[in-house]
């Protein structure tokens, strides 16, 4: 996979607000970006399913994989879609290992690597989304934004079902614990709708539905996390 990390985004994850960045930090950041790119094993998988609306309960159902999506927010998100992609992406256990070992060596490096990984997994999701976008376009559709378990009132507990439906253990080595924790840790699952009217995907639009809403340090400062 050909991935370029976004330095500004990584700095933003690190709480950067225009401070002087000394040479050493610059160099360390470059080194971490490089090392993560060399070490991580990004993988993703997805499947496309038809979307049905249960108008009575106001819930979205994916009959082909026998999945009912709970929550008002995901209903709003997918109600205009005929199909949706269920996707999962990961940086592999190698990224987890790299960060864990770095913690024992240098916490500074570990924190920077952690931020790099946060950016990298977004980039991997972007690549999956681009592929999905092409499939949607072939059907004359655009895409809604990615919507993940834990956003808004979309329960994390769906994580396990997504993992099973995509067979993520076998496909990309992604597992989910009883507490809905994904391992490898740097992983994302999401749903993307195929919509005839996908609407505007403007920056910051995801804050309204984010589970961090109300306690996000970026929002407090008038910015957003970039996702």
């Amino acid at each position: 996979m050909d991935i370029t990390l976004d330095r500004q985004e990584i700095l933003r994850y690190l709480g950067y607000r225009g401070q002087m960045i000394d040479n050493r930090t610059q160099k360390e950041l470059d080194g971490c970006m490089q090392e993560l790119l060399e070490t991580a094993k990004p993988r993703y998988c997805y499947r496309i399913f038809e979307v049905r609306q249960d108008l009575e309960k106001e819930e979205i159902v994916l009959p082909q994989c026998d999945l009912r999506l709970l929550g008002r927010d995901i209903y709003e998100h997918l109600r205009g879609s005929r199909k949706c992609a269920v996707m999962a992406a990961t940086l592999g256990i190698e990224a987890d290992n790299l960060i864990r070992i770095s913690e024992a060596e240098s916490m500074t490096r570990a924190v920077i690597l952690d931020a790099c990984a946060a950016d990298m997994i977004e980039k991997v999701c972007d690549m999956a989304e681009a592929e999905i976008g092409a499939l949607a376009a072939a059907e004359g559709c655009g895409l809604t934004s990615r919507y993940s378990p834990g956003y808004g009132d979309f329960p994390l507990s769906v994580q396990e079902s997504i993992s099973r439906i995509l067979d993520t253990g076998r496909q990309i080595g992604l597992t989910v614990t009883e507490n809905q924790l994904m391992i490898p840790r740097k992983s994302v699952t999401a749903l993307i709708g195929f919509s005839l009217r996908p609407g505007l995907k403007k920056k910051g639009s995801r804050c309204a539905v984010c589970s961090m809403r109300g306690r996000c340090k970026f929002r407090k400062e008038g910015t957003y996390c970039g996702r």
Binding site: I48, E94, T108, A110
Partner: protein, 784 residues
């Protein structure tokens, strides 16, 4: 014919995919195929029968995901699903029925949360059900994690006598999802005594060839291959396989021509594929792969080969004569050991010795934990070192990979207790040339003991290539005339027994000045005599120079590449601590400079004074600048790390516990493994002079309660990252209060806010590590 006998004589044909067939028969995406054993038995039986008709010798039960984790919430138990699955497979009329077992579905510690014991118990439950239902053999397949497989293989061997086959699944980079290589799998699983090992799934037969070739070279048991029907490709959001039955049969039968003994199919294959393969292998003779003996050990992901060169075994994780390490072991603080492991690897160790022998601790428990912690931070293979056979057995059992046991001797009791452990777990073993009468003076007598060790080991089933003989060094200051006997003994052992040798070198210089010179000269002499591995201190520049130089001379370091590369990095930056104050060093986050500055200051200033007058004011200033937005996170943490290295200098100069301003217990709660925030908080608290008892991540409620009560710590810090584990934080706090714990509790983690703090019942919200320090100041300040 017993399946073991069949395996020895002919090419055995397993069946092909079950999931592919069930999906074609209407199984929805994400549905559990195993439930069909009970809801649609006729479909499952029909598929088995089709494979038997295609000519398969072994039919695999539809029980891949019949473990308790995967079946959770399905309404069925593993016993029901497995009994039905094995019965259907047997009903098909196949010659042999394999109980199919896949990965449990969660990752093992330290990557995930699953413990070795839990994995063992889950596998055992499946195996007992399968054996009771009449399976003829056990097949672990599509495995990624060697340690998980090891738990399964041990469960199988300890609860039934069915043959065990294991296949792992490798990606295009030749590794499994958790980084296991075919070499590591072959070494470890051969050692554990499985009946066949190999590869399945992920790739098609063409892409699997390099993996299979490696397995054929490294495995000591028959090799098994079950490829997919080609490389999976995504087409319109669906996975498709695209080779023909003929191509599949041609390519897969080619493995048998190279020496594979068991074939079959995986995803995308159907009875038509297996039928074509049957036709190809009919009339083919079983070919034995060409092999030469290999002496090697491994972790779950990395191999150290002892053939064809000299190896370095790092000796530093051993408390003998090390005050700091003893302290840390008693406190069960494993960060120090992790640090030793990392630095030895960075200095060029190939293998690490791990010894936790202290009289007043539970050595077995501490050794197991140390092995786990070291394996979490380094991929080097380990040498498990203890004089307690029980500690060895427990640590070797949980070790991920093929370890070395240090050691067995020529004493009858040692041979009887240690060799069965080495044989059972497939470990390599160090044999000391001493017996009931002590260390013989002459090389010939030591050779005799070595000979006895090798003979006994082979009787127990430990092959010769898994033995390392240690001819033992005597001290030049005490028995000068015997030093060269050791070298003679090495030559005798190598020539006469054909085994590899190892030596703990440092003893030779005991009681003499300039020890590194004596050690390295003796090491060079040892290499000259044929020594294969040296147990030494890799942080000694003289020792590593000798190793690097010898590797040029014995042509191990091709074109002297490593030697040259090392020579060019040797000029080190000069630290000018004189011109700058300790505060400057800390605030700029310069660790080495801070350590040097602290050392200098220590000549004139008391340790406590350095903490109060230098460390804390500098940290406070950095903290303020951080809060004001002049510094950002990496700069704050780097300053904290500089203080940490200053503290290391102080601790060496102070009595145990001399800097403690109070004790704080920290933990990431049960179910959560995101602990980077907790680790940052811990470092900062330590920087301010608090003693921090770190219980780690995914810490069970009882363990927090126990540590809180035992330590009497006035402050407890808990972290949780997920909304799902915030509940676990509440349970922990409730249990603490119920146990009568009166300590103040601070909670932190990304999802927390003031509202959650009330919900979980904590006293303080530690929004970040800086706030944590302020809370500690409040709690401990109020006490004085």
């Amino acid at each position: 014919m017993d399946v073991r006998k069949a395996l020895a004589e002919k090419i055995l044909l397993f069946d092909g995919a079950m999931g592919t067939m069930l999906q074609a028969a209407g199984l929805p995406a994400g549905g559990l195929p195993e439930i069909y054993n009970l809801t649609h038995p006729e479909i499952v039986l029909g598929i088995h029968k089709d494979y038997v008709a295609a000519g398969c010798d072994v039919v695999t039960s539809n029980t891949f995901q019949a473990g308790e984790l995967k079946l959770a919430g399905s309404g069925y138990t593993p016993e029901e699903v497995i009994a039905a699955g094995v019965r259907l497979a047997k009903e098909s009329g196949a010659k042999y029925t394999a109980l199919d077992i896949g990965p449990l579905g969660q990752l093992m510690k330290p990557m995930g949360t699953l413990s070795f014991e839990d994995a063992y118990a889950m596998f055992r439950r499946q195996i007992e059900a399968g054996a009771a239902a009449g399976a003829d053999l056990i097949l672990f397949e599509t495995m990624s994690d060697l340690l998980e497989v090891k738990a399964g293989v041990l469960a199988a061997k300890e609860c039934c006598d069915l043959p065990v086959f294991v296949t792992m699944t490798y990606q295009q980079d030749g590794r499994t999802f958790v980084g296991c290589s075919p070499e590591c799998a072959a070494l470890t699983l051969s050692g554990l005594g499985v009946n066949a090992l190999g590869v399945n799934c992920s790739l098609g037969p063409e892409e699997l060839m390099p993996v299979v070739e490696t397995l054929l070279e490294w495995s000591r048991v028959p090799v098994m291959v079950q490829p997919n029907a080609g490389l999976p490709k995504m087409k319109d959001g669906k996975t498709v396989y695209d080779i023909s039955t003929e191509e599949f049969a041609n390519l897969t039968s080619a493995f048998a021509a190279k020496g594979a003994a068991v074939l079959g199919g995986c995803c995308g294959t159907t009875p038509a594929f297996l039928s074509a393969l049957r036709k190809k292998i009919d009339g083919m003779d079983r070919v034995l792969p060409k092999q030469k003996p290999i002496t090697a050990v491994c972790s779950g992901t990395r191999t150290a080969v002892l053939d064809g060169g000299v190896s370095v075994i790092g000796e530093r994780i051993n408390p003998t004569g090390k005050k700091r390490l003893k302290e840390k072991l008693r406190e069960q603080d494993f960060d120090y050991i992790a640090g030793e492991a990392i630095s030895q690897k960075q200095h060029g160790a190939d293998i690490l010795d791990v010894n936790c022998g202290l009289p007043e601790i539970d050595e077995a428990a501490v050794l197991c934990r140390a092995v786990e912690e070291v394996q979490a931070v380094t991929d080097l293979p380990l040498q498990i070192d203890s004089s307690d056979p029980e500690a060895i057995a427990q640590a070797v059992r949980r070790y991920n990979g093929k370890p070395i046991i240090n050691s067995v001797s020529g004493k009858a009791e040692s041979l009887q207790t240690i060799l069965p452990i080495a044989a059972k777990y497939g470990a390599m073993v160090v044999g000391l040339t001493l017996d009931e009468t002590g260390i013989p003076e002459t090389a010939e007598k030591r050779y005799e003991i070595a000979q006895r060790i090798v003979r006994e080991a082979e009787k127990y089933g430990v092959p010769r290539q898994d033995i390392l003989i240690d001819c033992l060094v005597l001290t030049a200051s005490a028995q000068q005339e015997l030093v060269m006997e050791t070298l003679r003994a090495i030559q005798l052992v190598k020539a006469g027994l054909g085994v590899k040798t190892v030596l703990g070198v440092s003893n030779v210089s005991f009681g003499l000045p300039s020890r590194p010179v004596l050690n390295s000269v003796f090491l060079a002499a040892g290499f000259g005599a044929g020594l294969d591995a040296a147990i030494v201190n890799p942080l000694s520049e003289e020792i590593m120079q000798t190793v690097r130089a010898f590797r040029v001379l014995n042509a191990q370091d091709k074109d002297a590449a490593a030697y040259i590369a090392n020579a060019s990095v040797e000029e080190k930056p000069v630290v000018k601590a004189e011109t700058r104050t300790l505060s400057d060093s800390i605030m700029e986050g310069r660790a080495e400079e801070t350590a040097a500055g602290t050392r200098k200051l220590l000549e004139t200033t008391a340790p406590m004074e350095i903490i109060d007058q230098w460390f804390i004011p500098a940290l406070d200033k950095v903290g303020e600048q951080y809060e004001q937005g002049q510094l950002f996170l990496p700069q704050l943490i780097r300053a904290a790390e500089a203080v940490k290295s200053g503290f290391e200098v102080l601790r060496a100069a102070m009595p145990e516990g001399g800097a403690d301003k109070g004790t704080i217990v920290v933990a990431t709660v049960e179910g959560d493994i995101h602990d980077i925030g907790k680790n940052i908080a811990k470092m900062l608290l330590q920087n301010y002079g608090y003693r921090v008892i770190d219980l780690g991540k995914d810490v069970p409620v009882e363990k927090v309660v126990q540590a809180a009560m035992e330590s009497g710590a006035p402050l407890i810090g808990l972290s949780a990252l997920m909304t799902t584990t915030v509940t676990s934080m509440r349970d922990t706090i409730t249990a603490l209060r119920k146990a009568g714990c009166t300590a103040k509790i601070m909670a932190g983690g990304a999802v927390l806010n003031e509202e959650y703090i009330q919900y979980v019942g904590a006293d303080y919200y530690a929004r970040d590590a800086r706030i944590g320090v302020q809370i500690a100041a409040q709690v401990f300040g109020g006490q004085q």
